[in-house]
Amino acid sequence: MTEEIIIAGFGGQGVLSMGKIMAYSGMMQDMEVSWMPSYGPEMRGGTANVNVILSDERISSPILRSFDTAIILNQQSMDKFEKSVKPGGTLIYDGNGITRHPERKDITVYRIDAAEEASKLKMQKMFNMFVLGGFMKVKPILKTEYVLKGLKKSLPERYHNLIPLNEKAIERGMEIINKV
């Protein structure tokens, strides 16, 4: 099993940290993992993306142009990465601010209104955890137990009291994701 993922959105949405938590969780599950961020001018201009690979085998190329799953969190990223999903692959997107919805028919599209839900529950800072929950629901690769372990490993100790809230966000994310 090899899952090649891109997460793309605005800086500040927790794109890179969500990728990091996925990589940590994969590591906790004894998988091979890689996390390759965009660190260039695009990141400095406000958009961010990260390639994450979770695999049972030694990972060859950590840099990819086509993906099993694309997690898309703003319109620019939709325009750029919808076409990068492999035929038969998965696209997950947050509807917030999206004016042109995914058009491809050869992939499975899921919508998760995580920004709206996070704001409703006053958990805006955990927006990315709702999205992660959605991903975990439709691609059951990472188990909650290991994601929580991954959070513990990746978060500084002073934030460990927030882990139960993160868990809640993940659970809620699993509930609010819908196939389009």
Partner: protein, 355 residues
Amino acid sequence: MEKELRLMKGNEAVAEAAIRAGADGYFGYPITPQSEILEYLMEANPQATTGMVVLQAESEVAAINMVYGGASCGKKVMTSSSSPGISLKQEGITYIAGAELPCLIVNVVRGGPGLGTIQPAQSDYFQATKGGGHGDYHLLVLAPASVQEMADFVELGFDLAFKYRNPVMILSDGAIGQMMEKVWLKPQKKRSEEILPWATTGKPATRERNIITSLDLDPGRQEHFNLKLIAKYREMEEKEVRFEEFMTDDAEYIFVAYGTSARLCQKALQLARAEGIKAGLLRPITLFPFPKKRLNELAASVKGMLAVEMSAGQMVEDVMLSVCGKTRVSHYGRMGGMIPTPEEVLENLKSFIKG
């Protein structure tokens, strides 16, 4: 610190491995995409635990000359930078090579020339392997292709630097520096307290004074010294060549690629095999000394070799020199911080096969 599994960026792995390898000092100056090395070391503050000095110098030139000073005392010292910063260090590097001193230099390469771009590239191959500064000298050059190797090559680099009293370079790139992978870190080593016989640590009554210099105005003596250096480089070519092969046994076409490009070629190789093309990969791990002999052997059994580099074609010249015309050699590369995709590499292999 015990052996430990962590998820780290390549840059962070270099920094942590340096502490654990018992390094005495790091001197650097920030530049993207390698600033995490200095940042990590500053935060880790190893001065308080192992006694390792970490210092942000006022410039790259100052940093490399601090390395020169520390190495003169027989200390395990290092610096790191990215392409433009490494160019600034070249004067110091040739002096260190000329003074036969050990040290470790890490170059996390970005696109050039000039200030270029902050994205990954492999366009400093010539500079790293053919000298870089003036005069007849070589660095021993290690090319990591994973975060694990970023960590492992720190200790290996120091060992080789002291074995040959020669500067060693880890030639990495922005992709390997910035990406995170699993890495096994070795247990903490104690810093060495050994006083090396050639080091300038104060003259005791029992020996002549040690002199560290790269200057000799007597042409005869200087030539004698040049010959000694050449003998050292020949010995490295005998003993230190490292490489890794993938599916070369039955391969008709071989990719030759190092670092990030080697990772892309591993994927391109899988794609090629899936289409029935008998492709293989030779990944040089040491770029100097280069795996000339092995490539020459392989040249007899394959139909061609494709060097894949993120440059205009630099390592490909060493591939050509290695195979001496025994087989076809070509190059495919992207530049300016562009990273080729495995699919793109496969397309180029196919057109190379067509001829």
